[in-house]
């Protein structure tokens, strides 16, 4: 999950795509394995059971054929005659009987011919047997034949080989003996079954393998297969299991065979599990191959798609970084008509907005208080240019030229900056805007860009503030042995044109008009009148009673036809009437 949260969008889309396709592919393969595999095993199991049925039928047919052959042979008069010789010890001819047995063996195409007397004692055998003269009465199928004096069949072990033996009575006209024919159940029988059914067949007990379609070398796992406990005890004889022979897996079915052995005889029927599943595996390989190609194509599509999608996103991220670093000129170029292009355009608009904002901020920030700047930026103040009535304040340091010659430049600038700091603070304290520094002076605006009804009073208050602050500053300067500063301030209220002025890169908020010039002239008059604060009559008439006014004079001003009345402002009384804010 940590990787996921840290990885790029592109990687996530890519991985999600791949995981989805892989899941679908694996699910498909899994279901095929489940359905087809199950079907294949079921078909194989059915084949094995069919083989079992074929085998059972074959055993029955063989028994029937054996019985028919035996009955036919037993009816042979010559045989009866030879059989009957045993009644008379003088004429009994065992050699003749044995050679007759050989003849019958060939006639009937069987591997074993035994002859007994009517009580079951062996008279002759082909091939030769050590049981001559011994009673076979207890041996199936002769036991059943003796009991019923009728034909009987059984599977028995003779000299470690498996035989299907039939015993039939020889009538002459009563039972004068028994003829037994035996057919071996050997490898050739298993091979024949395999040829017919394509299943491997083995006849075995838990102790030994009697016959098998397997070569002798491959028979060891067969006994193990039989001794393995069945998974389901209820269906012991019908359940299948897997046995590995020479690295190949075989589905094995154990069928009981009715026989007379010391251990139960079984037929082990086997079909190749791997071969049965081969078509499934081929199918799976094909699906896997098609799936792999599909996966590859899908991944490539995924890469292209995620690239298409994340490309613009990365472009946006890069642009963001530019903006973060302060490069507001950067723009993204996202093609197309989808949401991403819209996003890019929005980003560009945002960046443009930020840039405008920054430029305006730069324009105003230096001259107006934060509140004013915010008001301008929020659009509450129009900047396109308008006629406004404002109060303009000009301030100047007296005797600055002499001072500049007297002081080291660093000391001079230090003094200036100390003073300007106080001056700006005084202006901003009254909501004014420091418009410009004039070397040794300050120009400030009141009533623009933020409209203020009492801009005249504010301007006068700011002037009084400057004077007061200068007094404090001078006290400090005197303690440092520095010369005191003296200032003159002129204020006029009049109509101006206000707005953004200047070429694009250096545009500034400013005011132009006669009122500005007049304010400057009034400031210059402070020297003549030896006043600190002089205001025009337009200002004085706007002042409340709390302001203490001094001398008044009608003076001619350069560039003005008519003389201008100026009034000296001395102070403001302590009782301050309520003033509307802003």
């Amino acid at each position: 999950m940590r990787w996921w949260s840290r990885s790029s969008l592109r990687s996530r889309i890519f991985v999600a795509f791949s995981a989805l396709i892989l899941t679908v592919l694996l699910a498909t393969l899994g279901s095929i394995q489940l359905v087809v595999g199950h079907q294949a095993v079921r078909t194989l199991g059915r084949d094995l059971r069919t083989t079992g049925q074929v085998f059972e039928t074959m055993l029955k047919e063989r028994a029937a054929r054996l019985q028919t052959n035996s009955t036919l042979l037993a009816g042979d008069f010559a045989l009866k005659r030879v059989f009957a010789t045993h009644f008379d010890p003088d004429s009994y001819d065992s050699d003749t009987l044995a050679s007759a047995g050989l003849s019958y063996r060939q006639r009937a195409g069987v591997q074993l011919v035994w002859m007994t007397d009517e009580a079951g004692t062996m008279l002759a055998a082909s091939p030769a047997s050590t049981r001559i003269g011994q009673s076979l009465a207890a041996l199936p199928p002769l036991r059943q034949a003796l009991d019923g004096q009728a034909a009987a069949t059984a599977i028995v072990e003779v000299d470690h080989k498996l035989f299907q033996i039939v015993a039939v009575p020889v009538f002459g006209p009563d039972v004068i003996g028994y003829l037994m024919l035996g057919q071996a159940i050997d490898d050739s029988v298993a091979a024949l079954l395999k040829q017919d059914t394509h299943s491997d067949v083995t006849f075995l007990t838990t102790a030994r393998v009697y016959a098998s379609s397997w070569s002798t070398a491959d028979r060891d796992p067969l006994l193990a297969a039989l001794s393995q406990p069945s998974e389901d005890p209820g269906t012991t004889q019908q359940s299948t299991q897997l046995v590995e022979i020479r690295g190949e897996r075989f589905l094995s079915l154990v069928l009981p065979v009715s026989a007379h052995l010391s251990l139960p005889l079984h037929a082990l029927v086997q079909g190749s599990y791997d071969k049965a599943l081969a078509p499934l595996h081929a199918l799976q390989r094909q699906i896997a191959a098609v799936g792999a190609v599909g996966l590859l194509l899908a991944l490539m599509t995924g890469i292209v798609l995620s690239g298409n999608m994340t490309g613009p996103v990365r472009s946006l991220v890069a642009a963001m970084h530019h903006v973060l670093r302060g490069n507001l000129h950067h723009r993204t170029h996202i093609e197309g008509s989808d949401e991403l292009r819209f996003l890019g355009r929005s980003f560009n608009e945002m960046a443009a907005g930020l840039e405008d904002r920054e430029r305006i901020k730069a324009t105003f920030g230096r001259f107006v208080s934060r509140d004013v700047a915010e008001a301008v930026l929020s659009g509450r103040i129009p900047l396109a240019g308008e006629r406004l009535e404002v109060s303009i304040l000009f301030q100047d340091i007296r005797g600055f030229t002499a001072l500049s010659e007297q002081l080291e430049p660093a000391r001079l600038l230090g003094l200036l900056n100390q003073f300007f700091t106080e001056a700006v603070a005084a202006v901003e304290a009254e909501g004014g805007m420091v418009k410009q520094f004039t070397g040794d002076g300050v120009m400030a605006l009141f009533g623009a860009p933020q409209a203020q009804a009492d801009h005249a009073e504010r301007a006068v208050c700011a002037a009084l503030g400057m004077v007061a602050r200068l007094a404090d500053l001078n006290a400090v300067l005197r303690s440092q042995g520095a010369p005191s500063l003296r200032i003159g301030i002129g204020i006029h209220t009049g109509e101006v044109v206000a707005g953004l002025i200047g070429p694009d890169e250096r545009v500034e908020y400013g005011v132009v008009g006669e009122a500005v010039n007049l304010a400057s002239r009034i400031e210059a008059l402070t020297k003549e009148l030896a006043a600190v604060i002089l205001v025009s009559n337009e200002v004085a008439t706007r002042l409340g009673p709390q302001f203490v006014l001094g001398r008044s004079a009608l003076l001619s001003v350069k560039g003005r036809g008519q003389p201008v009345r100026v009034v000296e402002v001395l102070a403001r009384s302590a009782v301050e009437p309520a003033r509307s804010p802003g």
Binding site: F83, F87, F171, V175
Partner: protein, 216 residues
Amino acid sequence: MCRHVLPTLFLVLLGLPLEVRAAVPAVTGSVTGIDGKGIAGAVVFVQAPAAAPGRDRPGQVVDQVQKTFLPGLLPIVVGTSVRFPNHDQIHHHVYSFSPAKTFELPLYKGEAAPAVLFDKVGVVKIGCNIHDWMSGIILVLPSTHFAVTDAEGRFVLEDLPSGAYTLAAWHELSKVKPEDTSQSVQVGKDPAAVSFRLPLSAARPRPAMHGARAEP
């Protein structure tokens, strides 16, 4: 079915002359099984003293009619010749592998086969090589005095001079040899009574006849 009918028929035929002659019964009795039920078709005969061999014994006949030996059981005294006429329209091949008399009358019709002399006491089982189901017994006895039990297992021995005799009983399915059944009996003016009890084995299956007689 046939097996029961034929001996009965035979017994009836055999009994007729006895009734006509109205001979004096010397020994009467019965042959029963272990369960006490009378056994039909058993033969009771005088074992000793044995009859002297005679050359002029009348010949006997085992006929072949409809692929069946008739009678199925023929008791004879030793030294008797038996003819096997064939009254079917087909050939028969009569044989016996019995130690008491081994003989063979290869394929013949009518009266073509010579008579066979039975010169040894014992059971002679006869068959036909061509027809597996044809089976008969010729019981060769040491004496001329014998009787076959009726359906109830009763027998009557007649014309037996006074004296001491040893009697024995035989049956095809008897588990006991005749010599082991022998009983002594004193024959006087009054009829003597003798009972035999024979344990029988179960009837043995034989090649079936299944309507074979209807075919040629």
